[in-house]
Point group: C2
Chain length 294, copies 2
Amino acid sequence: MYQPSRLQQDLADRIVRLVNEDGLQVGALLNENSLAKRLEVSRTPVRGALQYLEHQGILARRPNRGMELVALPEQTPAVATTDTDEKWLVQIARDRRKDELPQDFSEVEIMRRYGLNRPTVQRVLSRLSDLEMVERKPGYGWRFVTGFRDPAARDESYRFRLLIEPMGILEPTFQLDPQWLEEMRRRHADTLERPWQDTSSIAFFEMNAAFHEGLAAASGNRFIHSAIRHQNQLRRFSQYDWKFGFERVVVNCREHMEILDYLAKGERDVASVLLRRHLERASQVRSRDNPDPG
Amino acid sequence: MYQPSRLQQDLADRIVRLVNEDGLQVGALLNENSLAKRLEVSRTPVRGALQYLEHQGILARRPNRGMELVALPEQTPAVATTDTDEKWLVQIARDRRKDELPQDFSEVEIMRRYGLNRPTVQRVLSRLSDLEMVERKPGYGWRFVTGFRDPAARDESYRFRLLIEPMGILEPTFQLDPQWLEEMRRRHADTLERPWQDTSSIAFFEMNAAFHEGLAAASGNRFIHSAIRHQNQLRRFSQYDWKFGFERVVVNCREHMEILDYLAKGERDVASVLLRRHLERASQVRSRDNPDPG
DNA sequence: TATTGTATTTCATCATGAGAGAATACAATC
DNA sequence: GATTGTATTCTCTCATGATGAAATACAATA
């Protein structure tokens, strides 16, 4: 079967989004050149993406005239991370937590164990070492940083976020995108309404992460934003497996929504205080089943 | 001539340090096994390092008994960074600032321009992208992040540090190593006494960086420490070339030493306020010749 | 028995080349 | 003249093998 490259799939998704945003109707012709320019790539992968959409019956080729929109595509749901390495980061962190990986290890061990090629392993290890989860041994080999999974790290993480997140809201450059705010409210409301399943924990985590990262981004300070992204990435490793009780989910969403309400009213000082309280409270929840929401 | 590997050189340095710390005297025998264990490597590179020290006339081989210390080695001065990639990071950042590199570029361009092999370029670009200085374009190629060198980034950096550094001193886990404190005082005093040359700016920067990083490390919070290391690394790129007037150096050192004095007395609250003031003041110094001390 | 000496195995890096696919240039068509 | 169609060039990723060096095992020696 026909298989588009990763880039082409990404572009196809983005083209669908553009079609929706531009409000194009059936019968419209898509222009390769302008798409290529908007997407910041050359025409070649755009052609591939269009061909892919043609396979899906969304577009039809009009020889020498371009691609015609023959069906309105539905928005693909929140884009699953297109980053295949990410999966291995999570996997390796999990296996280490379960003590299935030794503290010291070599690249080839990882290659063999997970069936990866060397470049992939090197990329993954390099990212893990940026996160200070692993480090090179002086000679050959790598080792997991001692204490990357101890409880102290958790406390330090919360204390770090307590310094940054509430203050980020008070930055003079703070500016919140109203669209983002509405989207966030909707996602939180959805979470509260939908029947809760234990398997939702990844989605719940990602919503949480998006909430905190969005606020950090709105601060207008790239370093605040970057620090919170970093924290989210670390938390992602330890939390994907966790199960949250629904009660905790409810409390969490309510607190988030309250903060969003005050931000909508422009009362940033209140929002900042509530965010601080929210983090403090989350840092204290530690029962085995609800180890770390927030 | 005989050329030890990088690891062997490192180990030789560390062995010299151990000899000094242990207070070994001429005639002592060095044990390969225990050295290997202390240095966390196998015996092989330790042998290489010992051989290297033998070449320097510090050790002498006693067949089947080991290496005997025949001369007390002098401590090597503050170890120059053993990281060869680092040099290229700085170089590339500088060339971009001078507009000698285009915003968009490919790996091969870098390989050709600097005469590097591909793995090196990939490592360097990967590190630059962790620092959010460059990013991959969607198709082939890389580009410098717009605004990585604009003045806004500088302001954001100071505001970020203002959130973190003064609070770090107040963390309940804060604990300062008295040895570090003395060492810092000495370095600052030295800087004030020595005749000032424009070429000292790298040494001055590194002393500054060590000061701020040391305080962050003392906070006992790994994320605070890591964030400040990150900031130092970014600042390193833009500041290695800068010339500081001596007046600014004097003010800077005095402010640092005052902070150290209060920390020595255990008055962390005062130190924290002074540090905040110090950062605020530094963020306002912007004349062309003193663009960014602090 | 502990330590050094020696040999073997394993590891990671780099060089090289092939292949997939993106960028680019030019021809064809409306 | 603008846009699509087609061919060519360039870039990056991956697989493979060679090399240098670290890890490991075992022998020799005090």
